[in-house]
């Protein structure tokens, strides 16, 4: 069953088009990843799905309810973990969770039990009565994910869940997140601009400048790039590159003192190459395509680096528009 259905969704902030006619569907109890650089329209799309923003055009349905006109039903069906922490730092972990349980009108008899469960699930039972102020970034995120599940939502939104976490907490959080669909019968909708992290998704949509430019499983997307890339260092790169082109009929070019060769099955090609030009080879390495390569191929840009600054400009423009027009 499709738990989320989005059709030709558009959101404009004045002259800026943040989301430019996107359509996609999300299967129930899967992990869906929304991938793209800063300012691509990920948070705007999430805000529309979460009923916090009204779309300019198009429709979005979640759990069979219209995200614009049936906001109360949609809100009951979703849990959200925002980019920035939305915990009250001056309350304890337990108090934050209880606040949530009351806010979502969890049955009186169930409240305490669910809060305890959430604390155990976030592995924070021993810190339950400590103020949030004293928690690390990773602990806060785990608590927020657990809080988002207290009212048993159908969809859990995670907006850049690992932003600002150290690598250790990040991989812990991912283990924690990948278990959710099975354990809690919930669909995960997440955004990220870390390509490596999107590998855990069942399905990915790559978004750039408000449009979806590709979607599919991580494997399907990687096929867009072609195969693996072999990097060779030899005593005479120019000559070796020419030889490889001649002998194997594949692309081989030279860059930064290395020859790089795109082939379909890298591991099978390496022995052949060594056999032919073996004596001149200094080093060999092979790279499987990453989602980063997919993005590079599709847009001609790196997802991070210099491109991020353009995204930040868009973000700032949207923010200042909202300040002027819908205060709050």
């Amino acid at each position: 069953m499709q738990i989320i259905r989005v059709d030709s969704l558009v959101k404009k902030f004045g002259a800026i088009t943040a989301v430019d006619g996107i359509s996609f569907e999300v299967e129930e109890n899967t992990i869906f990843g929304f991938l793209g650089p800063n300012g691509a329209g990920k948070t705007t799309t999430i805000s529309i799905l979460c009923t916090l923003l009204a779309p300019t055009a198009g429709t979005a349905y979640l759990n069979g309810h219209n995200c614009h006109s049936e906001s109360a039903e949609v809100r009951r069906s979703i849990g959200i973990v925002f980019q920035d922490s939305s915990l009250d730092k001056d309350l304890t972990a337990r108090e934050n969770l209880l606040f949530h349980a009351y806010l979502y009108d969890v049955d009186k008899a169930e409240r305490k039990k669910r809060v305890d469960e959430a604390l155990a699930f976030a592995e924070l039972s021993d810190r339950a009565d400590n103020l949030i102020k004293t928690f690390s970034g990773g602990m806060k995120r785990r608590l927020e994910v657990a809080r988002g599940l207290i009212h048993r939502p159908k969809v859990l939104f995670l907006d850049e869940p690992t932003l600002g976490l150290d690598p250790q907490s990040r991989s812990n959080l991912w283990e924690f997140i990948t278990d959710l669909p099975k354990k809690h019968n919930v669909t995960i909708f997440m955004t990220t601009h870390y390509m490596e992290e999107a590998e855990v998704c069942d399905k990915i949509a790559i978004i750039d400048k408000g449009r979806i430019i590709a979607s599919g499983t991580p494997q399907e997307l990687k096929k867009i790039v072609g195969g693996d890339v072999i990097y060779l260092k030899t005593t005479d790169n120019k000559k070796a590159a020419g030889q490889i082109r001649e002998l194997f009929g594949v692309e081989a070019s030279e860059k930064d003192g290395e020859i790089f060769i795109s082939v379909l099955k890298g591991e099978a090609c390496i022995p052949d190459i060594i056999r032919e030009i073996g004596e001149r080879v200094l080093s060999v390495r092979m790279q499987r395509p990453t989602l980063n390569d997919v993005f590079l191929k599709l847009t001609g840009k790196e997802i991070r680096e210099e491109y991020a600054s353009a995204g930040d400009d868009i973000k700032e423009a949207v923010r200042s528009y909202r300040r002027r027009h819908d205060r709050g």
Binding site: L52, I78, F82, S85, S86, D88, D90, L103, Y104, G328
Partner: protein, 255 residues
């Protein structure tokens, strides 16, 4: 529609934080006492009031009003803090109406302000005032209604400001003038006509005037209340309804 559980938990959160933050409690109690005993005590010697109430007794209702004004506005301004630190998002995506949020915040302000004003009220014997039990009930009631009105007014203010830099703007350009133009420190009837107009659009004036009726009902002359008691009550009830409605509307827009 108003969700009782949501209103309850919003109020419970503010109350818990208030009890936990000792420094805030101390400072909100200390300010009115400093005004009452240092300013009031000093001025008492300068302001001859004949046989009626002394100046220190005269400003007592005003000081109660001040306590309510500061703590109500401060409580509502916490909305700006909530926005700044992200907690507001947790509330805004919940399946509750915006009006429940506004009612919850206004009731938090009302509860905390009333508690603080009751603490200040307990000092009345030190000032040589005699207040009967019925009057005390009346005073607490007036304080609660005034606190609701001012907290709702604070919510309206908070909906116009994004960051806590605006806090000092609100304090210096709205709260302080409201206090001085309320008949708290000097009777409205001795003010120049222009300022008298200003006091009449200030709900705090009528709240303080109602307290004057209850604290020294027999007083005649310049220090006596400025308006009829019924008018005072009508104005603060009307202001409560008015500001909580505007606050609800201001919040609704943010959708």
């Amino acid at each position: 529609m108003i969700e009782a559980n949501a209103v309850y938990v919003i109020v419970a959160r503010e109350f818990k934080k208030f009890v936990r933050e000792r420094s805030r409690l101390v400072s909100t109690i200390a300010r009115p006492l400093v005004w009452l005993f240092l300013v009031g005590g000093g001025m008492s010697r300068l302001v001859p009031t004949g046989r009626g109430v002394s100046y220190m007794q005269f400003i007592f209702p005003g000081i109660l009003g001040m306590t309510i004004l500061f703590s109500s506005i401060f409580s509502s301004i916490s909305i700006i803090w909530d926005k700044e630190f992200g907690f507001m998002k947790e509330i805004l995506v919940a399946p509750i109406s915006r009006f429940s949020v506004v009612i919850g915040k206004a009731m938090s302000g009302m509860l905390l302000s009333t508690i603080q004003s009751v603490i200040i009220l307990a000092f009345f014997p030190l000032l040589g005032l005699r207040i009967g039990p019925l009057e005390i009930i009346g005073i607490v009631f007036v304080c609660a209604v005034l606190a609701f009105a001012l907290s709702s007014f604070g919510i309206v203010l908070a909906s116009f400001y994004e960051s806590y830099e605006s806090f000092s703007v609100i304090m210096n350009f709205i709260v302080m003038p409201m206090f001085f133009l309320s008949g708290a420190m000097y009777p409205v009837k001795v003010m120049p006509p222009v300022l008298q107009y200003c006091t009449k659009v200030n709900p705090l004036t009528f709240g303080i005037d109602a307290l004057k009726h209850l604290i020294f009902p027999l007083e005649k002359g310049p220090m006596s209340p400025d308006f009829p008691f019924v008018i005072d009550l009508l104005v603060i009830v009307a202001a409560s309804v008015f500001f909580v409605t505007i606050g609800g509307k201001a919040f609704e827009r943010k959708g």
